[in-house]
């Protein structure tokens, strides 16, 4: 047994023993929060501009129902990059540069948070099982697959969120195939190789096992969609499907949905960007409708919708928004907060820093993100 395997086993045991959380924590009675990363980096022009939006549901239906922040900004600080992993961790920790590199490859950031995430603050403050604090991730974004807890000595693995992604499903699937041993030998060998490859993508010294509830979630997913990956929704539609199932089956109290596909415009096809925005917009509508139809969520849920970063607005390029390379426009985002306890029909007409998102979510849910540096947007509460 190598060090990595030992750690995995040891920490999985510790983590298992830690579930559910210690009785000292109070039960959570606040609103559910669904944090939607309108991600892959989007510009205001194609999302919240009245005339040019590709997200009509977001702009024309949702925005009037909540507090709209059209001028959110990512701070211009040394070392702050306008990219997805960084932006996501800004949103989750309420701090800039709250991460460290764990072996990035070309075009593939590998960061891990060094400050507590919202998940840890929440599970420290309240008695919530890990499967009710969820991160939903795309299938080919390993750089954002391991944000379920911070690695510094604040809270850590016992306070982690669970992750729903195809990466996790495949871990479950291959483990099941290997446990069942009903497949032929080549299939088993391939399953073992793929299982090991998935584990190897995790840069952390130890990785938590998936909880029993999430394992059961994957069992139902597998029964419905099978093993081959050809039947389940794909791209950002997959994230919507996972989120909708999670609402029904796991009932998360805090869930972050990491949409990502507008980023495909890096390869130069503008329609990938605009179509991806439309797909997210459609996903938003389905999530809002699912929340309205579910008694556990209706009138008790807050949506926080915001991009991880902006994109370039470069007039010298054929596709002005092809990248998000730390330009002024890439620092410009927006946010929409709507739902229980949040003022409707309000637009904040001043610049708001991205680091305000995490402490504001914390305030909404009744805890304090003590190490967040941003200010709580207290004026948005009813």
């Amino acid at each position: 047994m190598d060090r990595r395997s030992f750690h995995k086993g040891a920490f999985a045991t510790l983590a298992g023993a830690a579930l559910p959380m210690p009785a000292r924590a109070a039960p959570y009675t606040g609103p559910n929060v669904i944090l939607v990363r309108f991600g892959g980096g989007v510009r205001r022009a194609e999302t919240i501009n009245d005339a040019t939006t590709f997200a009509p549901y977001l702009r024309h239906v949702l925005a009037p129902q909540g507090t709209f922040i059209p001028d959110m900004r990512i701070a211009q600080l040394d070392g702050v990059n306008t990219s997805h992993a960084e932006g996501t961790l800004n949103l989750l920790t309420g701090r800039y540069l709250a991460y460290r590199d764990v072996g990035s490859e070309f075009l593939n950031d590998r960061l891990e948070p060094t400050e507590p995430t919202l998940f840890e603050y929440l599970r420290d403050a309240f008695d919530l099982p890990s499967h009710q604090v969820l991160l939903i991730n795309g299938e080919d974004r390993p750089q954002e697959e391991f944000f379920t807890y911070g690695v510094a000595d604040h809270y850590g693995i016992d306070f982690r969120s669970e992750m729903l992604s195809l990466h996790r499903f495949k871990l479950y699937k291959f483990a099941q195939i290997l446990a069942e041993r009903t497949a032929d030998e080549p299939t088993l060998l391939d399953a073992q190789a793929q299982y090991d490859a998935l584990l190897a993508k995790d840069p952390r010294a130890f990785a938590p096992e998936q909880s029993a509830d999430v394992t059961a979630f994957w069992a139902r997913w597998r029964a419905h969609y099978g093993d081959d990956g050809f039947r389940n929704p794909r791209g950002d539609r997959l994230l919507t499907a996972l989120a909708l199932r999670a609402i029904t089956e796991l009932q998360p109290r805090l869930m972050m949905v990491n949409y990502q596909d507008p980023d495909y415009v890096h390869w130069g096809n503008p329609s990938h960007y605009t179509r991806a925005i439309q797909v997210i917009d459609d996903g938003l509508q389905r999530l809002v409708e699912a929340v309205a139809a579910n008694p556990a969520y209706r009138d008790n849920t807050v949506f926080v919708i915001t991009p991880d970063c902006g994109r370039d607005a470069n007039p010298l390029l054929g596709v002005p928004f092809q990248h998000h390379f730390n330009t002024a426009s890439a620092h410009e985002t927006w946010a929409l907060i709507l739902g229980a306890g949040v003022q409707a029909g309000r637009t904040i007409d001043r610049a708001i820093d991205q680091s305000a998102i995490a402490p504001t979510i914390a305030a909404l849910m009744g805890f304090t993100a003590t190490r967040a540096e941003g200010d709580v947007l207290s004026g948005i509460f009813r």
Binding site: G235, L238, G268, P315, L316, L317, V319, F325
Partner: protein
């Protein structure tokens, strides 16, 4: 404008060179006028390979002693005629792989966007197939151009036996020409990729008026066009001189061909990097070094 008889003195040649580079650079600013520059470059190759039969090309005037209209516009007409012929010949050779590159890039990422695992291999397979073909064409292209310039016929672009013999006869000069080409192509990669970082390169760019931003774009285009013509002038001149030399030892020809292909792959890599940085579908089809000297 120019019709050289004999060999003028050095200052005169330098002035003429600067004038040719200036005129050629301006013509390379637009795809239509770039045809004229392309024709002039082909005529320049002809004059290098057969100086006794073909005088140095002019931009506008025809030969002395021709009729009035032929004298006034003969050079321009010859440039256009030769430019169209060269463009057609080069397109015949390069469009099969450049169009496949365009399709593979679009379809490959379209497939990825939709996570279409079923068709995952099609894009890469198309691209690699097209690239294999491209390397063979690129290794022969300087000699196809030279042969076509000498023969002054469109069919010369497909005279493979002659073109192969010319490439084999060039010996080590074929990979040398490839190496010079891929090095000289680097500024095109820069011209396409650097605008991505314009805000870092030009402080305050984001806050400039659109007119000021356009001025910067126009200046960049002019510099790129001038460079395109100058680099092509050098490469065509080299290719013509190589084609006019006596044959080298041919038994090493397969080695020089393989080496040429390996070196030309650097141009393919430059094009891919440039497209990733700043995508323009036309730039799969039209690169100054294999089709049209247009700065884009």
């Amino acid at each position: 404008m120019t019709l050289a008889v004999g060999r003028p003195a050095l200052p005169s040649r330098l002035i003429r060179l600067l004038r040719d580079l200036g005129v050629g650079g301006l013509l390379c600013l637009h795809p239509v006028t770039a045809i004229i520059a392309l024709g002039w470059l082909s005529r320049h190759m002809t004059s290098v390979m057969a100086p006794d039969d073909a005088p140095a090309p002019g931009w506008m005037f025809g030969p002395r002693g021709a009729g009035r209209i032929a004298r006034a516009f003969g050079g321009l007409a010859a440039n256009i005629r030769e430019g169209l012929r060269t463009f057609a010949g080069l397109a015949l050779l390069t469009l099969p792989f450049t169009a496949l590159w365009l399709g593979a890039w679009w379809a490959g990422w379209e497939n990825s966007f939709n996570k279409g695992y079923e068709q995952a291999a099609i894009g890469p397979a198309l691209w690699f197939g097209a690239t294999g073909y491209a390397l063979l064409i690129l290794a022969h292209l300087p000699f196809a151009r030279a042969h076509a310039a000498r023969a002054q016929s469109l069919s010369a672009f497909t005279a493979w036996r002659t073109i192969r013999q010319m490439r084999a006869a060039a010996g080590w000069r074929a990979p040398w020409l490839a190496l010079v080409s891929v090095i000289l192509a680097l500024p095109f990669l820069g011209a396409q990729a650097l605008p991505v970082f314009i805000e870092e390169l030009v402080p305050g760019f984001a806050a400039m008026s659109s007119d000021r931003q356009q001025d910067i774009a126009d200046t960049t285009a002019l510099l790129t066009a001038t460079y395109a013509f100058a680099s092509l002038f050098l490469l065509r001149h080299m290719a013509a001189r190589i084609a006019a030399r006596p044959p080298a030892r041919r038994w090493l020809a397969p080695l020089w061909l393989i080496l040429s292909c390996v070196i030309w792959f650097a141009l393919v890599a430059q094009i891919v990097i440039a497209q990733f940085m700043n995508y323009d579908p036309w730039k799969w089809l039209i690169h100054p070094f294999y089709l049209l000297p247009w700065a884009g």
